[in-house]
Amino acid sequence: MLIGTIVDGIVIDHIPAGRGMELYGYLGLDKLECEVALIKNAPSGKLGKKDILKVNEVIDLNFDLLGYIDPHITVNIIENGKRVEKRHPKLPEEIHGVIKCKNPRCITSVEQEIEHVFKLTDRENRVYRCIYCDTKAK
């Protein structure tokens, strides 16, 4: 499968297989005018299968969000057709305004202006809980 070479842009690699489309939505890539490619189920030495996102423009990324999806994701910054930087997101302590609390008893379910915030409560098992009602993020 051939995807055009990126001149200036980013490649988000080692996305867990099946989560590329979710990340595409979270990062708002559907709103970009530039070329964007989502490669699903690419072969991976480490993971067996992985998803990859290629964006033909350098954009600001929410690294907390990437770390939440998976801290093993790699972000390659491409300039003039060459990789100039490789970055790894960290597991964030808090996630703001991305994932939504689904608990109907949570105050966020009735007051739309409140920012949804999740806090890391178990690093080993990557468990995040809503700061308002302690419901686990799914």
Binding site: R105, I107, S109, E111, I114, T121, C133, D134, K136
Partner: protein
């Protein structure tokens, strides 16, 4: 400026200091009679709660302060659609401290994030009720003389009972406390309490369906109500409901210095015949609630 939203916001040392302050208030009430003169407590109760609201109000009055507020959402600006955040900002202009009860989980935290005065969570749905836990701890301390090295039995609805979860969290921070969790299969403590509190802190505990089997081991018995609507099967409810009603015959094997607690309101889970037993602490527990709230108001208002 501090608020109290979750009992876990307080360190063990702070809890001990609050209990010591409450005991000093009990011993020397005159010393505290004017400590909050000129200060106002706003009780923002979006759902009815006679006992907790009156406990907060009497606590402030006994400190020489005064009280404003509302006791149901319909008589507040919430009925007009005002957000909790805006209400907290507005009330900050009128009062020195807020006690808030709200049916939605996390509402007091939202208030605390927006108020410029301390906020006390007076119960947010089935989530947190830290002053009930402080009340329970003061009661155990006063009845037993200590908060460590004892066996605490929690009986009834351990799945939905927020007071039990908070008590397990708070008591498990003291040395040598082990738990007997007495409930029907349907109402056992949820997995997150088991992993986040009991297993994470290597707390000794055992689970049983039989109150009578557990009784001889207990230093404290914390009773809660088993509600019909919690059961999937009506047959199971009928089979089990009487098992968790405390009657004098079930106390025959209990220790002579057992302390029986209940967060109240009681429906029928403790027979009125128990009320005259010196081991029944639940009405003394209510009184302790006022004293610990007095201590908490002093702490949050930074009054010595």
């Amino acid at each position: 400026m501090r608020s109290l939203i979750d009992i876990a916001d307080l360190s063990v040392e702070e809890i001990d200091a609050l209990i010591a302050k409450a005991e000093d208030i009990i011993a020397n009430p005159d010393k505290y009679a004017e400590k909050c003169h000129g200060r106002k407590l706003a009780t923002l109760f979006y759902e009815p709660s006679t006992r907790t609201r009156l406990s907060f109000e009497s606590a402030m009055l006994e400190l020489g302060g005064s009280v404003i507020g509302f006791s149901e959402a319909q008589s507040s600006s919430a009925a007009k659609g005002e957000s909790v955040a805006d209400t907290a900002r507005v009330i900050s202009c009128f009062a020195d401290i807020i006690a808030m009860r709200h049916p939605k989980e996390g509402a007091p935290l939202v208030a605390a994030m927006n108020a410029s005065i301390p906020v006390i969570n007076a119960g947010d749905g089935g989530h947190n009720h830290p002053t009930q836990t402080l009340t329970d701890l003061l009661t155990i301390k006063r009845e037993k003389g200590r908060l460590d090295h004892m066996t605490v039995g929690c009986c009834g609805d351990l799945k939905f009972g927020r007071t039990v979860h908070s008590l397990l969290g708070a008591m498990s921070r003291y040395e040598g406390v082990d738990f007997v969790l007495i409930s029907p299969e349907e109402l056992k403590v949820p997995e997150h309490v088991r992993t986040d509190i009991l297993k994470a802190r290597s707390v000794a505990y055992r689970e049983t369906e039989s109150l009578q089997e557990a009784m001889p081991d207990l230093d404290v018995l914390y009773m809660t109500r088993v509600q019909r609507e919690r059961f999937i099967s009506e047959a199971d409810y009928v089979r089990l409901k009487d098992t968790y009603i405390l009657t004098p015959d079930k106390l025959t094997t209990a220790k002579p210095d057992l302390s029986i607690l209940h967060p109240l309101p009681r429906v029928n889970e403790i027979s009125v015949a128990i009320d005259s037993d010196p081991r029944a602490c639940y009405f003394r527990q209510v009184l302790n609630g006022k004293f610990i709230r007095m201590a908490l108001i002093l702490m949050l208002l930074e009054v010595e």
